[in-house]
């Protein structure tokens, strides 16, 4: 327990000698190195970001294959690719996988990697907790997917898993147990990381980096963390109630005992609506970095961008029952939630117009990243506007639970979230890996994805308005659904092709990299601090912690405006950028304990489902690891390699705040 840990409070120069005790347990303390083991014990926010990103892309393929199965089943009427039972599992796991195992961790990858860089910090506030978040997330993700093998099938209740269908009587396989416990584990991971990143943003900004100078990506990610912070406990409650009902015969959702199934819906959507903004705000942030860079103009209306982000985050708390317009909550509630929902279009519209205004009068360079970013704005607008048509509650009674809704949310999630994050991948790839993604393949990737996406989800508007319900494993001939379903299936295959092109691009651009000129610190002539340091980013991020003088500080290190308002270069990138050659920078030491703690949690999960003894073992493992963690000094006294302690005290004296 950390409370016995005095290191953070006492460790100062020369103090290390007092820490002679070794950590408990069988491990010797990892020392940091180059091998794969180093990835297991890393506490470096950049590596953790990469881990998040790679795992997220893996689950994108998993969720994508599930999506393809859905589309194959629905390509023609009376499809027989999947049985009804398997279909229900597949679409549920598709939703859960895409939301919790793909897009959230991909956003977390950006948050981990770039928040510290954009605010000029060496790492996050709690590096080991950061590792813990990742490992817990991964253990939850694996746990959730093992239900296919050991649970008698995936959850089959839909991603919002309404009571009473989620009860044991109606969902007898263990799928829903895995859902309840798996999401709980994922929730712990996100909660811990949200606290960590909030403290990082508030407390670790470089000198001069006031809140209103933070890049908009960091801002949007910060808002996202607040949404997570407050939304996760709500679904935690809901999941506990569900778990207690299923495993311990509690009566929370048993209508025969007088319970009200709508309780689940409220708790789920109180979480669920902020969740959709958790999905979109990081992409908004990404777009807000890319459009100015490639328009060669500062972001138009920075303050309005920030405040509309805050407004969206805030208003997102008052609209949840728009998912329950037809559930029978009464006309007054319906009207109130309908009204509150509509007005979210105002701050969102402000964002859209500010992006357009940024492009206005700019010199637009349509790199692949820019193409993705602009497409994000366009596609999101379509999805947002269909959202507005749902927000008119009476109209929604015709739309809800049809493919029109499926169209809406894929336009905002895929057209907004996924395209946006792909833009980010192309934009920051050189920063992370030290080489570009191939632009030519990138163009193929972009256009196939854009066409495929519209071909997949565009027809769903029509299908929905023609009356096709969602979550149906087949449809009969003769309702007029055939043509557009086939179109959607073809489209989804195109998306798959585009994803394969992306993967090929990853491989190929890495292979080609040695023969191409390196990107250098700032290949796009960009604006924020991460571009002032070498690519790939050195382990210690910044040689000297930058002193920030204004918004887009890095850009202003390169350029100035003369009296006529013309931009003149004042320094080349090479002159202005840091070299990354500092040595002896003090960095947090790696640790295995976060991983060990994370391993215990799924054991508790399996134990709750199958055998309580196993849960006990898991709990003991977790507790023992937590204690070992607490006993382990933050900084390893035995570490000898560079970048650590003793040298740090020397090295650091050469630093200081150089303005």
């Amino acid at each position: 327990m950390a409370i016995t840990e005095k290191t953070p409070l006492e460790l100062g120069p020369g103090d290390t000698a007092r820490y002679v005790e070794r950590p408990l347990g069988v491990f010797t303390r990892p020392q940091g190195g180059r091998g794969w083991r180093d990835w297991l014990s890393t506490v470096d926010h950049k590596r953790i970001g990469i881990l998040y990103g790679a795992s997220a892309m893996f689950f994108f393929v998993v969720g994508g294959v599930e999506a393809l199965l859905i589309r194959l089943q629905l390509a023609a009427p009376e499809g027989s690719v999947l049985s009804a039972d398997v279909y229900n599992q597949v679409y549920t796991m598709h939703g859960v996988t895409m939301v919790f195992l793909f897009i959230m961790p991909l956003a977390a990858a950006f948050a981990n990697y770039f928040i510290p860089l954009q605010i000029g910090a060496r790492d996050v506030a709690f590096p080991r907790l950061n590792a813990l978040s990742y490992w817990i997330w991964l253990s939850g993700a694996i746990f959730l997917n093992t239900s296919w093998i050991v649970g008698g099938g995936g959850a089959d209740c839909g991603w919002f898993c309404y009571a009473t269908n989620s009860g044991v009587a109606f969902s007898p396989s263990h799928g829903v147990d895995f859902y309840a416990i798996g999401l709980q584990i994922l929730g712990i991971a996100s909660l811990v990381s949200s606290i960590n990143l909030i403290v990082t943003c508030l407390n670790m900004r470089a000198p001069g980096m006031t809140l209103m100078r933070m890049p908009v990506l960091t801002w949007m990610l910060l808002i996202t963390q607040f949404l997570l912070l407050f939304a996760l406990p709500v679904i935690t409650v809901a999941l506990f109630l569900l778990m207690f009902d299923r495993l311990f015969d509690a009566q929370f959702f048993n209508p025969d005992a007088g319970a009200d199934p709508l309780l689940w819906q409220h708790l789920f959507w109180i979480f669920g609506h902020p969740e959709v903004y958790i999905i979109i705000l990081p992409a908004f942030g990404v777009v807000s970095e890319i459009i100015p860079t490639f328009s060669r103009k500062p972001l138009f209306g920075y303050e309005f961008m920030v405040f509309s982000g805050i407004a969206i985050g805030f208003m997102g708390w008052g609209v949840w029952a728009h998912h329950m317009f037809v559930s029978g909550i009464g006309p007054i509630s319906v009207a109130a939630f309908s009204l509150s929902t509509m007005f979210i279009a105002v701050p969102t519209g402000v964002k859209v117009l500010n992006w357009l205004a940024t492009m206005w009068g700019g010199r637009l360079r349509f790199t692949v990243a820019m193409k993705f970013a602009v497409a994000t704005v366009a596609m999101f607008t379509i999805g947002g506007l269909s959202g507005v048509t749902h927000s008119v509650a009476p109209a929604d009674t015709q739309q809800t639970d049809t493919y029109y809704i499926v169209a809406h949310f894929h336009y905002v999630i895929f057209g907004g979230g996924v395209l946006g994050l792909f833009a980010g991948l192309y934009f920051w790839w050189p920063k992370v890996w030290g080489h570009f993604l191939n632009e030519r393949l990138g163009n193929w990737n972009f256009w196939i994805m854009l066409v495929g996406f519209n071909l997949t989800f565009g027809p769903m508007h029509i299908l929905g308005l023609q009356g096709m319900s969602r979550r149906i494993d087949t449809y009969a001939r003769g309702y007029g659904f055939e043509f557009w379903n086939m179109a959607a299936t073809v489209g989804s295959l195109l998306i798959a092709v585009s994803v394969v092109v992306f993967m090929w691009n990853v491989v190929k651009s890495k292979r080609d990299a040695p023969h191409l000129p390196p990107p250098g610190p700032d290949p796009w002539d960009a604006r924020s601090l991460e571009w002032s340091i070498p690519s790939p980013v050195p382990e210690h991020n910044f040689d000297t912690v930058p002193q920030v003088h204004g918004r887009d500080d890095w850009w202003h290190n390169k350029y100035a405006e003369n009296d006529e308002g013309t931009v003149v270069r004042v320094a080349t990138v090479e002159e202005a950028a840091q070299t990354g050659e500092a040595t002896g920078v003090h960095l947090p030491s790696p640790s295995f304990w976060p991983l060990a703690v994370a391993v215990g949690l799924p054991l508790i999960g399996y134990g709750l489902i199958f055998n309580l003894w196993l849960a006990l073992i898991g709990a003991l493992l977790t507790i023992a690891s937590l204690y070992s963690w607490a006993m382990e000094p933050v900084d390893d006294p035995d570490a000898t390699h560079d970048h650590h302690d003793d040298e740090a005290t020397e090295g650091s004296s050469t630093e200081g705040d150089q303005p």
């Binding site: 269908n165 109606f170 029978g328 357009l356 700019g362 007029g480």
Partner: protein
């Protein structure tokens, strides 16, 4: 008489072009669930007041944004930016502009809000429209009301003429599993009089379902332990398709229902027929069928006149199975997914027999012995028993009118 469903109208047209999809050639002619083809006053008002105006606003905004964007791209694009080192004027923002568009959006959304408030009563407000109905030679003033009960995976419709119920009664009563006895209990197909607003009271006996007849109104969930109001109205006699739209487990996709709207006179004769008990069959096969029914099927199904006074409860999670008293007077069975009659008007023996042979083959269900069933189990009937049962079931009630049978044939 199959009402010609209108193909999706103008709106899907613009959606299409905007989404860059091909011309709307694939649009169906048989769109029975089309939400853009309202067939009753409620749905029509909902459509014209609630749906279309907001679609138009959204369309205008979308066109505006898209045009602006395309123009910006076209105007400001730098085709060959290798080596280009020019910087445009560095504008940081413009407060009046920001305020301007914020207000603009606000005003637009206020208009949308107006649309919502204007159309909300079209789906929510109810009127009192008493209608004379004769039941057992007694005439009653009936406020057209149907109690709609969702079950996995079929709908039950209950009509109360003698002891009429309203929402408040049922809410006070509280339990969907022991509803007060009704004059008519039917399933799969709801029969309503034309020109009357019919109030629905929705509930469920197991999980949440959602009742939706797109041509007559939007949808409303049937939630266990809750009673929710809804209403529908059909202008013309006709056959209106619906689909359960809240995911309700394994056979959610196979949980459908239809509304049969009859003129008040036809409705009255339907009431006359349907309030009768089942008649004792004369034909020997049917009599043998009754025998089998009384031995096996009565543990779940009720046929009034056969086992309505001894029936206790079905082996079902919902505690109920469809009431079969007038099975033959419906044109579909098993959650509205199979035709009970072929296009030529003959009984659809093939599927009915297959149903009795093993329902799970036709419609996925969950009937593990020893657990509570969801759906009808395989009862291991012999072919002889099946033949007898079909003979018996076919005589339960009058065959529906030809136009109904015709309209039922979706494929």
């Amino acid at each position: 008489m199959r009402l010609p469903a209108r193909p999706l109208g103008r709106v899907s047209g613009w959606l299409l072009s905007l989404l860059g999809a091909a011309v709307a050639t694939g649009c169906a002619s048989d769109a029975e669930l089309d939400t853009f083809a309202p067939q009753g006053p409620i749905a029509r008002e909902l459509h014209s007041r609630g749906v279309l105006p907001v679609f138009w606003i959204a369309a205008v905004v979308l066109v505006g944004i898209t045009v602006a964007m395309v123009w910006l791209i076209w105007r400001n694009r730098v085709k060959n930016y290798e080596g280009d080192d020019e910087w445009p004027a560095q504008t940081h923002g413009h407060v009046p502009l920001e305020v301007g568009w914020t207000v603009g959006f606000f005003v637009t959304m206020a208009a949308v809000a107006g649309i919502m408030l204007w159309s909300l009563p079209t789906v929510d407000a109810t009127e009192t429209n008493l209608m004379g109905v004769t039941v057992d030679d007694r005439s009653v003033e009936w406020e057209p009301t149907v109690v709609v009960v969702g079950n996995q995976w079929w709908w039950e419709f209950r009509y109360y003429f003698s002891d009429q119920v309203d929402l408040a009664d049922l809410r006070a009563h509280g339990d969907a599993k022991t509803l007060p006895p009704a004059d008519i209990v039917t399933s799969g197909q709801m029969v309503i009089p034309t020109g009357e607003e019919v109030e629905l009271i929705l509930t469920s006996r197991d999980v949440i379902h959602s009742f939706w007849i797109p041509a007559l109104n939007g949808k409303r969930d049937a939630v266990p332990n809750r009673f929710s109001p809804w209403k529908i109205e059909a202008s013309d006699p006709g056959f209106y398709f619906g689909q359960c739209t809240e995911f309700c487990g394994l056979s959610h996709s196979r949980m459908r229902m239809q509304v049969v709207a009859l003129t008040p006179a036809d409705f009255q004769s339907w009431v006359d027929d349907t309030t009768q008990d089942a008649v004792e069959p004369a034909d020997p096969a049917a009599l043998a069928g009754l025998e089998v029914f009384s031995g096996i099927c009565t543990s779940c199904h009720v046929i009034e006149g056969v086992n309505d006074d001894v029936f206790e409860s079905a082996d079902q999670a919902s505690g109920a199975a469809p009431n079969l008293t007038h099975l033959a007077s419906r044109s579909t069975f098993a959650g509205g997914i199979f035709n009970l009659y072929n296009a030529d008007g003959s009984l659809n023996r093939v599927q009915l027999e297959a149903w009795l042979r093993n329902p799970g083959d036709l419609k996925a269900n969950y009937t593990v012995p020893g657990k509570q069933y969801r759906g009808m189990p395989d009862l291991d009937l012999s072919e002889q028993q099946i033949d007898d049962l079909v003979a018996y079931l076919a005589g339960l009630g009058n065959r529906p009118a030809d136009w109904i049978i015709e309209a039922t044939q979706v494929e």
